[in-house]
Amino acid sequence: MFEFFRNLDRRWVFLAMLLAVAIPILLGARFPEDPSPMVRSVFEAIDNLPEGSRVLLALDYDPASEGELHPMAAAFTRQCALKNHKMYFMTLWPPGTVMVQKQITMLEREFPDYEYGIDYVNMGFRPGYEGPIKLIVTDLKKAIAADVQGTSLDQIPLTRDLKNIQQMDLIINVSAGYPGAKEWVLYASTPYGIPTVAGTTGVQSPLLMPYIPNQLTGMLGAIKAAAEYEQLLIDEYPQLKDNRQAQEALRRMGPQLVAHVFLIVLILIGNAIYFIERRRSR
């Protein structure tokens, strides 16, 4: 057995991991989620705002991290729509326009009463990494002259009287890296005290922890937090219970659990082999 594991081709491990993820997906395995205090703090940051509050949704991610971040972005958008908040979408990533469009398509399908220009606006992509953040905190229209369709922001009711994003009641950032949550904290949240929450990839989460709670009100870290958030949203808004689109992260926690158990077993086996080899070499 020892020799078998010691000489095991790594491609068998890949195949086993593929099966560990694929089988729960095919079987539709799901597990209950209990929202953590951190997830609740993000939920309350949005839910405690008065109806009709201004919320900036900065979706700074691309298709490469969509599997992890789209459930968060969709949950944030749904919650804002359920609370009748005014949504201002933008992105600092070129492919982010497609991610924003997905949220708008969802809004059109699930919330047909939500009207473009009155309830939400798509300000599209802004190049320049953190540059646009630095500009829009003082003068929005200097950096973003028009929405994604080329209509001047002065002609859109939602943005006509908007001077800068200091007038936002909350910034929601869904971030896959640079520029992302850290830049929003550095250039908007900390210097101007704009309340900010973030949804981030697992890779980013530990790096952003030190900003909580003073510079970042709360954070959803990776798919686990997204699943807890979806559960909390369903608990608070039961009309979402039969909406399968609103349970994407919950669905992904089945394969996640099996894959993690498999990985823990691999770590244990790897360590056992290491210690046995060390003892034999003495």
Binding site: G67, F125, K134, P206, Q245
Partner: protein, 307 residues
């Protein structure tokens, strides 16, 4: 034929055979092939005398015989291309191969072209030309531009800097590109320095100044909050001691530094755990796409109800 080629050939034959059998089964069950995308025609009536705007929205395959619903060849090719590219990228786990190389090259090329086109329309057209030549842009590329908008002459500065930057492509005078580059580096460094000092240095020190004994509303000691604060303050202190190399790491300093390195290791472990979670989530999303949208083996969103 060597062993590697034999394995590839077997995998290709097995995969192709499975696809054919699966497609045949789906066709006999539903009357359409897996991976097909159907769209619903939506006509938006314009406000003025302009012609109606027609858009197409994805719909359930079971509605394919309804009026206004049609088969979308472009979206079907999209689903198949995405699925085959995913498999081509996964094939790298077996080893480097032409399929992976092809998928990688397509990804790099498409990403670069996409970023360039989006950047051109949003920055050059909308932000630069829209501010310098508003009347011309209103008549040509930006009909939605505000009619009251006039030329903003300060945008001549970025235009000149941009032209200087592109000068490096000219056969002579490439040094001219160094000036806008120097301006850009200097400005970026200045902006970042202030923000990092404020948000990452001063504010982070502020975040670490915490009460070590936390009292709750009824004036009793909140033990867990106190332990949390003590852990944060102690953790920061010992981690800083580890990076303090002006004193030899022996005795008390050595012991504190050792605790510091342990805490750092725990942090790296947590980061690794988070990274694994992220990667598994991405794998799950791709497999879900393959099983759901391409192969039609599962239907978590009930997109094919009634088929």
């Amino acid at each position: 034929m060597n062993r590697e080629n034999l394995i590839w050939l077997t995998l290709m034959l097995l995969g192709g055979g499975f696809l054919l059998i699966n497609a045949g089964m789906k066709y006999s069950e539903t009357g359409t092939v897996n991976g097909s995308v159907y769209v619903q025609e939506i006509v938006v009536e314009p406000e003025a005398d302009a012609p109606p705007i027609v858009t197409y929205e994805r719909t359930m395959a079971s509605l394919r015989n309804e009026p206004g619903v049609s088969f979308s060849l472009s979206r079907t090719i999209g689903v198949w291309a995405a699925a085959l590219c995913t498999l081509a990228v996964f094939s790298f786990l077996w080893g480097d191969n032409p399929l992976y190389k092809l998928a990688e090259s397509v990804f790099v090329g498409v990403s670069a072209a996409y970023a360039m086109v989006v950047g051109f329309w949003t920055e050059i057209v909308q932000n630069l030309l829209g501010n310098l030549l508003p009347a011309l842009m209103r008549q040509t590329l930006l009909p939605g531009l505000d009619t009251a908008k006039t030329t903003e002459w300060e945008y001549v500065v970025p235009l000149i800097l941009g032209v200087m930057m592109i000068w490096r492509l000219a056969p002579s005078g490439g040094w001219i590109a160094r000036w806008p580059l120097a301006f850009f580096i200097g400005a970026t460094a200045g902006i970042r320095l202030i923000s990092y000092l404020e948000s990452d240095f001063v504010q982070q020190i502020n975040n670490t100044i915490l009460p070590l004994v936390v009292l709750s509303a009824d004036r009793t000691i909140d033990i867990w909050s106190s332990v949390k604060n003590i852990t944060i303050v102690f953790g920061v202190f010992v981690s800083l001691v580890y990076f303090f190399f002006s004193v030899e790491h022996t005795g008390t300093v050595g012991a504190l530094a050792r605790v510091g390195i342990w805490l750092l290791m725990i942090t790296f472990g947590a980061s690794f755990g988070y990274t694994v979670m992220g990667r598994v989530a991405l794998l799950a999303a791709r497999l879900e796409f393959i099983f759901d949208e391409w192969l039609w083996l599962i239907d978590p969103l009930q997109r094919r109800l009634g088929l």
